[in-house]
C-alpha cells in the first residue's frame, strides 16, 4: 500500500523550503534593487534571449546594457537579424545603422587593348542591342561591352566609357544600383567603397580559355589565395572570392597577381612606423608581424623594414604604448 503521507511530506518540505527561500529573495531584491534605465529592459525584451554571445558581448543582458549605456551599435545581434536591429533602433530613437557605403564597381578590365573581338559590330550602339547579336563582339563572354548603357541611366554622371570599357567614379557614385539593373553582362557589382582589393574579372572559365580571349582576365591561378596570410581569399569557380571580414587590406594579393586582375591602390599602400620615443621594446609587435618586417631585441627600440611591411596594421593594434602609426 502506498502511504499518502510518504508523498505529501517531502512535497510539503520542499514546497515550504521554496516558499521561505522565495520570500527571502523577494525581500533581498527589494533591498538590493539597482535602478535600471527602462530602455535596457525594453531592448532586452527585443533580443532573442539565448545569451549566445554572437554579438561580441557576454549575453543578451550585457548587450542590451551596452546599447543603452555605451551606445553600442544596434545591429550586432545576428540571431535576431534586421528585425531586431530595427526594433532596437526604434527604442533608442536612432536611425537603423547605415551599412558601409557601397559603390558600383566594374568587374572587368577587358578594354579594346586587352580583350579581342570576334566580329565587327555595325548596329545600334547600345549594350543591350549588341548583346542580342551573339552576346556582343568581345571574345570573352563575360566582358563589359563598353557601349555605355549604364552611363546613360546614371543620374549622377558617375560612369564614363573609355576604350570600350566603362569606368565608375567612386566619389560620384551613390550606390543606387540602376546601372546594375541595366547591364546585360552583369559586369557591375556593388562593392564596399573602402574595399582594399577587388577582383576585376568574372570569367569563370579555366585559365587557358580566359587567356585566349583577354590578356587582362583572371586565370584562376590561386596565387592571391596562397599569398594571403589572413585566409581571406578562396578560389571558387576559377575566381578568387575575398572575405571582407577577414581582409585587412595588406594588398599582398594585388602585388602578387600575375595578370593584374586583382586590383587595388598599391601606390597609396600604408606602412607602419614606430615612434622611437614611445617604444619600450616589448617585442609584442615583432611577434604579431606575419611578414617579419619588424626587428629589434627585447628592451631595445624596434624598427620596421619598410620594404617588407605591408601595412596590415596588426602590430599597431597590439602595441600597448600606441607607438606604431600607419602612414602612407
Amino acid at each position: 500500500m502506498i502511504n499518502i503521507g510518504d508523498i505529501l511530506l517531502p512535497a510539503g518540505v520542499l514546497g515550504s523550503m521554496g516558499v521561505v527561500f522565495g520570500a527571502g529573495l523577494a525581500y533581498a531584491s527589494k533591498k538590493l534593487a539597482v535602478p535600471v534605465d527602462e530602455r535596457i529592459e525594453k531592448v532586452r525584451n527585443c533580443l532573442p534571449g539565448a545569451g549566445c554571445g554572437a554579438c561580441g558581448f557576454t549575453g543578451c543582458d550585457s548587450y542590451a546594457a551596452a546599447v543603452v549605456n555605451d551606445g553600442a551599435p544596434t545591429n550586432c545581434c545576428s540571431v535576431g537579424g534586421d528585425g531586431v536591429a530595427k526594433q532596437i533602433a526604434e527604442i533608442m530613437g536612432v536611425e537603423a545603422q547605415a551599412t558601409t557605403k557601397m559603390v558600383a564597381t566594374v568587374i572587368c578590365r577587358g578594354d579594346s587593348d586587352h580583350c579581342k573581338t570576334k566580329y565587327e559590330y555595325d548596329g545600334l550602339m547600345e549594350c543591350r542591342a549588341m548583346f542580342l547579336a551573339s552576346g556582343g563582339d568581345k571574345s570573352c563572354k563575360f566582358a563589359c561591352l563598353g557601349l555605355g548603357s549604364c552611363a546613360k541611366v546614371c543620374d549622377f554622371g558617375a560612369i564614363t566609357v573609355e576604350n570600350r570599357l566603362v569606368k565608375v567614379d567612386a566619389e560620384k557614385c551613390h550606390g543606387c544600383g540602376k546601372c546594375i539593373e541595366v547591364c546585360p553582362k552583369f559586369v557591375l557589382r556593388l562593392e564596399p567603397y573602402h574595399a582594399p582589393s577587388v577582383i576585376r574579372c568574372r570569367a569563370v572559365e579555366k585559365g587557358k580559355a580566359v587567356r585566349e580571349a583577354c590578356t587582362a582576365g583572371c586565370i584562376g591561378c590561386g596565387k592571391c589565395a596562397k599569398l594571403c596570410k589572413f585566409e581571406a581569399i578562396t578560389i571558387e569557380n576559377n575566381l578568387p572570392v575575398v572575405d571582407r571580414t577577414k581582409c585587412v587590406g595588406c594588398l599582398e594579393c594585388v602585388k602578387g597577381c600575375p595578370t593584374g586582375a586583382m586590383s587595388g591602390d598599391l601606390n597609396n599602400r600604408k606602412h607602419a612606423v614606430i615612434k622611437e620615443d614611445l617604444c619600450i621594446g616589448c617585442t609584442l609587435c615583432t611577434r604579431q608581424c606575419r611578414f617579419d618586417a619588424i626587428t629589434g631585441a627585447l628592451k631595445e627600440k624596434h624598427t620596421v623594414d619598410a620594404s617588407k611591411c605591408v601595412g596590415c596594421g596588426l602590430c599597431a593594434a597590439k602595441c600597448p604604448k600606441k607607438a606604431i602609426e600607419l602612414v602612407k
Partner: protein, 190 residues
C-alpha cells in the same frame, strides 16, 4: 589539526578543478583575464561557503529527522540556486563592471558541479558543521587558486606565437592539463 588538514586538502591536494575535475566549465570560460577570474573565484567562494553551512543545517535538521535524505540533491540545488541569486544581486549592486564581465557564468554557478559536489561530499565524509564550512571554503579557495593561476597562464598564451592548429582552445586545454600535472605534485602532502 583536522580543520587545518581539511583546509589544505581542499586548496591543494584534492583541488576541485585540478584533481577532481569539477567546475571545469567556468574554469575554462571565465579564465581569460586575471581580474575576472578573481571575481568569479570570490563569488564561488561565497556560494560554496554559505552553501556548505546551509545544506548542513538542511540535512541535519530537516532531511534526516523526517527520514527523507533521498531528497538531498534537489534540496541542495534549491539552496544553491537561492544563494547564487543572492550573490548576483549583491554583485550587481556592488560592482556592475564585475557583473558585466562575469555575464552568463554568474548564474551558471548554480549548475557548477563543484558547488553541489562539495556539499554532498561534506555529507558522505561525515563532517560536522565547522568541518563542512571549512571544507567548502577550502575547496572554493582551491578553485579560486586554480582559476586565477590559469588566467595568468592564458594571458601569457594570448600574446605568444602558437602554431595555428593549437591556437585558442587546444592550447588552453593542454595548458590546463599541464597545470593539473603540476598539482599532482601536492599529492604526497597529506
Amino acid at each position: 589539526m583536522k580543520i587545518l588538514l581539511i583546509l589544505l586538502s581542499g586548496i591543494l591536494v584534492n583541488n576541485f578543478v585540478m584533481s577532481k575535475f569539477y567546475g571545469t566549465c567556468p574554469f575554462l570560460g571565465v579564465s581569460k583575464k586575471v581580474s575576472t577570474a578573481a571575481g568569479m573565484g570570490i563569488a564561488v567562494t561565497f556560494v560554496m561557503g554559505v552553501a556548505s553551512l546551509v545544506t548542513y543545517l538542511v540535512q541535519k535538521y530537516i532531511l534526516e529527522p523526517l527520514n527523507i535524505t533521498y531528497l538531498q540533491t534537489i534540496a541542495f540545488i534549491l539552496v544553491i540556486a537561492v544563494l547564487v541569486q543572492l550573490v548576483e544581486m549583491v554583485i550587481n549592486k556592488v560592482s556592475p563592471s564585475l557583473y558585466k564581465a562575469l555575464g552568463v557564468y554568474l548564474p551558471l554557478i548554480t549548475t557548477n558541479c563543484a558547488v553541489l559536489g562539495v556539499t554532498i561530499l561534506n555529507m558522505t565524509e561525515g563532517y560536522n558543521l565547522i568541518e563542512s564550512v571549512v571544507n567548502g571554503v577550502g575547496s572554493a579557495l582551491g578553485f579560486m587558486l586554480a582559476i586565477v593561476l590559469f588566467a595568468g597562464v592564458r594571458e601569457r598564451l594570448e600574446s605568444s606565437k602558437i602554431p595555428k592548429c593549437f591556437q585558442g582552445f587546444p592550447s588552453t586545454l593542454i595548458a590546463a592539463g599541464l597545470m593539473a600535472i603540476a598539482f599532482l605534485g601536492f599529492q604526497g602532502l597529506i
